[in-house]
């Protein structure tokens, strides 16, 4: 079944569940990022309305601190504003680039603030809470995608899932994970590689662009 495209919130209330009716609503990511490159702040606003929620959720999960998460997301979108031309559509989707950048920044921040490393792992990493619910279409798509990803994670052997979640959501390095799990470093690296390959296999077809372009779900 082909899912509807996530409905972006209107630029008037970025990040909110309002549908909005601004001129940039409905434009695809590539068009919007091209406009950002040309200095169009409203295009940035539309991208924020579309992806601010996902970026904030990821940053908050890693940082476990609302204010730090806000700083992180702000830095992400300002970086998009300043260096939008660095995005290369030939190398992947915009949302993949954006979320990858969010992850890098959040991990960097959490490592600088060791005392804030209240990192969530294991079952907690699969926690599914919905608050301040997004619009129905978004909720349908996001919910199915989240369910699919959670299901895929749960198919991984526990050691692989543990290694991936400690790294992705906890911001731990491979060596730290080896210490935490009393596992040889080489084994941790192998578990990550194997786990990622399995995960990719399970999520294949979920959509080329991880957050922005829903694909066909069989």
């Amino acid at each position: 079944m082909t899912l509807p495209r996530s409905r972006p919130a209107g630029p008037g209330v970025p990040g909110s569940s309002d549908s909005g009716s601004g001129p940039d609503v409905g434009l695809d990511d590539r068009t919007l990022i091209a406009r950002v490159t040309e200095g169009d702040g409203r295009a940035l606003e539309a991208l924020y309305a579309r992806y601010g929620r996902a970026c904030y959720g990821l940053a908050r999960r890693i940082l476990a601190d609302d204010q730090f998460a806000q700083d992180c997301v702000q830095e992400v979108f300002l970086t998009v504003w300043r260096d939008a031309s660095r995005f290369d559509a030939a190398r992947g989707g915009f949302s993949t680039w954006l979320l990858s950048m969010t992850h890098h920044k959040a991990v960097d921040a959490v490592r600088r603030e060791e005392n804030l490393r209240k990192r969530r792992t294991g079952a907690d990493a699969l926690e599914h809470r919905e608050s301040d619910a997004p619009p129905v279409e978004d909720a349908v798509w996001s919910g199915m995608r989240g369910d699919r990803v959670r299901a895929a994670l749960l198919t991984l052997p526990e050691p692989q899932r543990e290694a991936l979640t400690l790294a992705y959501f906890g911001g731990y390095t491979q060596r730290e994970i080896a210490g935490l799990t009393a596992t040889p470093l080489g084994t941790v690296k192998t578990r990550m590689l194997t786990g990622m390959r399995r995960l990719r296999g399970h999520l294949d077809g979920l959509g080329r662009d991880a957050a922005g372009t829903p694909g066909t779900v069989s």
Binding site: G15, R35, E38, G39, D40, G41, R42, A43, L44, A54, Y56, G57, R61, F68, V73, Q74, V76, L78, T79, V80, W81, R82, D83, S85, R86, F87, D88, R91, G93, W97, M101, H104, K105, V107, D108, E127, H128, E130, R145, G146, R148, V149, R150, L153, L164, A167, F169, G171, Y172, T173, Q174, T190, M192, M196, R200, L203, R208, D209, A210, A211
Partner: protein, 311 residues
């Protein structure tokens, strides 16, 4: 026999997860530009990992977050960034011209596009490979202004606020403007964001506290003889019959009108509201009044709505 390339495959995964130790990171960064297969693998891993973001709590960010982002963009690029024809305006951005002192109220003057300017403090991870993908954007500035060290903006504000608190009676021309103590207040998130970004450009910022409530409703930016004004909290004025005037006073000299402006929304920026003649001292005291008519009077007639003293 183990495939020697498998080591890099493991490193690619670790890199995508931001989980490599520095020595492994460097090894991978040396390898990636030489290996298209690893570049492709990295792109695919990043795509897979981006899906994981959707198992997190998808609460909406606080409403003020976008306000702060927007304020930073405006501070860097001018209000034209959000104009109807922002893209074309950015492509043909005229040099910001000085506003005539005490002249008719003018619209905001743009400062052009800031995309790709050198003001960026972070780096953008490149997709797929690249050294950029390994670069973690610098959040030092964000961290520095948080709990572990005194925020730079807060220090500036605190020192300025101390100056404002001393202002009990301000003389603007023939008018004596009586202002209350304790007018200093916190900056709104939008103003604070502007101040932070502008401070990086070594500009001097002077918060102007409102008469009621004591909260800063504007920030004057003084840089290279140019005075700009950021407003957040002044009431909109009737453009047909009134105008705001920014006054500046140096020492015991009579205050003079630096420029006029209108307020339409809650957050506004007037870049280069005034350009000081070469060699002239910068004002030590700033006052905003709202005047009848569309031009600044010789001496202030209307009520003072905000004031601030340079630290």
């Amino acid at each position: 026999m183990t495939d020697p390339h498998e080591r890099y495959e493991e490193l690619v995964v670790g890199h995508a997860l931001s989980a490599l130790e520095p020595e492994d990171e460097q090894a991978l960064l040396r390898h990636l530009p030489t290996c298209a297969a690893c570049e492709r693998e990295l792109a695919l891993h990043q795509e897979t990992l981006a899906h994981l973001a959707h198992v997190t709590d998808q609460s909406a960010p606080p409403p003020g977050l976008w306000d702060s982002i927007r304020a930073q963009v405006v501070a860097e690029s001018g209000p034209d960034a959000f104009a109807e024809d922002a893209a074309s305006a950015a492509g043909n951005a005229p040099a910001a011209g000085p506003a005539s002192s005490a002249g008719p109220a003018s619209s905001a003057t743009g400062t052009g596009s800031a995309t790709g300017t050198g003001s960026a403090t972070g780096t953008v991870p490149q997709q797929g490979s690249g050294g950029g993908a390994a670069q973690v954007v610098d959040l030092q500035a964000a961290r520095a202004r948080r709990r572990l060290s005194p925020p730079r903006g807060a220090l500036t504000w605190a020192s300025v606020a101390a100056g404002v608190a001393l202002v009990a009676v301000v003389s603007v021309g023939a008018t004596r403007l009586v202002l209350d103590d304790g007018q200093q207040g916190g900056l709104s998130p939008a103003l604070a964001a502007m101040v932070r970004s502008l401070e990086t450009a070594n500009a001097r910022t002077v918060p102007l506290a409102g008469k009621n409530g004591g909260k800063a409703v504007a920030v004057a930016l003084v840089q290279d003889g140019r005075i700009s004004l950021m407003v957040d909290g002044l009431a909109a004025n009737d453009r047909e019959s009134s105008v705001y005037v920014l006054w500046g006073q140096t020492g015991a000299e009579q205050a003079r009108a630096l420029g006029t402006f209108d307020v339409a929304g809650s957050l506004d920026v007037r870049t280069d509201l005034a350009v000081m003649p070469p060699g002239s001292p910068m004002p030590e005291l700033f006052v905003i009044t709202r005047e009848s008519g569309r031009t600044a009077p010789v001496v202030a007639q209307g009520p003072a709505v905000a004031t601030g003293r340079a630290a």
